[in-house]
Amino acid sequence: MNLQLVETSEQWDDRRIGFGQVMLAEWTKIRSVRSTTWSLVAFVVASVALSAGLCALIVANWSAAQGGGEPARVLADPTDFILGNGTALGQLAVCVLGVILITSEYSTGTIRASLLAVPGRASLLLAKAFVFATILLVLAEVVAFASFLVGSAVLHSRAPVSLNDPGVTRAVIGAGLYLAVLGPFSLAIGAIVRHTAGAILVVVGLVFGSVVLDHLVSGGWEAYLVAALPQQAGSLIYQAHPHPGQLLSAWQGFGIFCGWTVVLLAVAAALLGRLDP
């Protein structure tokens, strides 16, 4: 057995450990688990493929479906059709990944190693949220632009749309922004619930349940309440044109969604500080 150090610890960097170190560690954690990496790749490929595929499908069946509701809807707002499908699938992937990123730390016990290395518990959570959001922002913007460029090219003969049309560039960028914030949003819920299945149920319920509510509620104060739900508010940012009767502007909605995320992260950080891992 050789205990001799190759170098002595005196040569090590004595500067204080900062947020940068914690973020670097979180990056290593994310990239070093194969299932996470593959899920991210699958998210990109599947989202773009779905957007493009559905565009091709509607074009192929255009004449047969003409007069029906679908082509009319596409004509009215091609951006919504191009971005909506891919984002719907993408958000499911992001919700699950965001939850698993933290609940797997609890189920595998990695959280204890993590907390020994980063005793400041809030900074552990924030670094994770920040790194995940950054990765998602890059990937989701790639997805959004790729989906739009492919989708609009496919739709061109039937429903031409371009990035120069009013609201379209904001909507495409917005699709990426929405998914990038949805990551830490799900992560926060995962950190609060701490169990994979339970947390996924909560996130999916919050995100997809609000769509159902939206159809049930018409007008009154309940409408404002539903409009402020995370998915309802957040999804406005990737719609090029306001819906009739839309209560919030795109950026107001996105702001509310970010507010939800910040509050949930704060709750998660407080709980992480108070409860034992």
Binding site: I17, V33, A113, L116, D276
Partner: protein
Amino acid sequence: MIEVTGLTRRFGTITAVDRLSFSVAPGRVTGFLGPNGAGKSTTMRMILGLDRPTEGIATISGVPYAELEHPFRTVGALLEERSVHPGRTAYDHLLFLAQAQRLPRRRVEEVLGLVGLGDVAGRRAKGLSLGMGQRLGIAAAMLGDPEVLLLDEPVNGLDPEGVLWIRNLMKELAGEGRTVFVSSHLMNEMAVTARHLVVIGRGRLLADCPTSELLARGSEGSVRVVSPDAARLAGILRSEGATVGTAAPEPPDTTDLGARDTTGALSVTGLGCAQIGRLAAAASIELHALHPRRLSLEDAFMELTADSGDLTTLPRHDDDRMTDRSCRA
């Protein structure tokens, strides 16, 4: 230096750790003993800031863990439960820990070599054996070349070679002036590694003394003698001033058939093996077994924790008993 003052931890109605105060000095291996559920792991987790104490404080080098500027360079810890993601390689597990602590990447390779995992560095943790996983945990503890080591049951899952390795590692680290605090349920393992012992039962401090002192408490041994002519032998031994009683039956799990036979078995105190053997030979008394039974550290420990209640019914381990089996006629 680890200092624990009035440390208490309650889980609902259970008081897992009860007003515990002790300190662990550098330069020696300090054993942390207690029956299952005594509160060893809970105490260690509180020292590391993973569990919140209900009351009291624990400090390492004078400050609570959470306030250490370079935690891994001050204290390295091996926790009882595995804390590695099965899908992450041994190398990447250590790498993220090193990065979070501003330690050089080279150090990861160094500790992997140190614990003998250099060849499986790229293997995912789910493909590591129990012992390899334990070595990975020790590598993580050594990452920051810490002054203080906290090891919760480090020999768990290690083969005899591994046990020997960790034993030497701990002694060597303590020899370099580091603080080594190690919990174990193998009492006699502690007898050969630890120079000092902290014993707890039901969360309370039972002893905080040098190992030799605890061993001395059990040094008043007895000799177990089996003879077909036990009654006559007993008379002779008594006349030589020995105290003779009927030996308690051995535990039923014993594999030694001679020891299991309780007919004609005597428990003799006040005379040694040699004297008893000589007296028996002089009287032409046939002996079937002559077995010195110095109280082991485990026995001393059992005695010590006997008052702390129902948690003392420890399973006896065969490897523990080997020490008082070693001399047999």
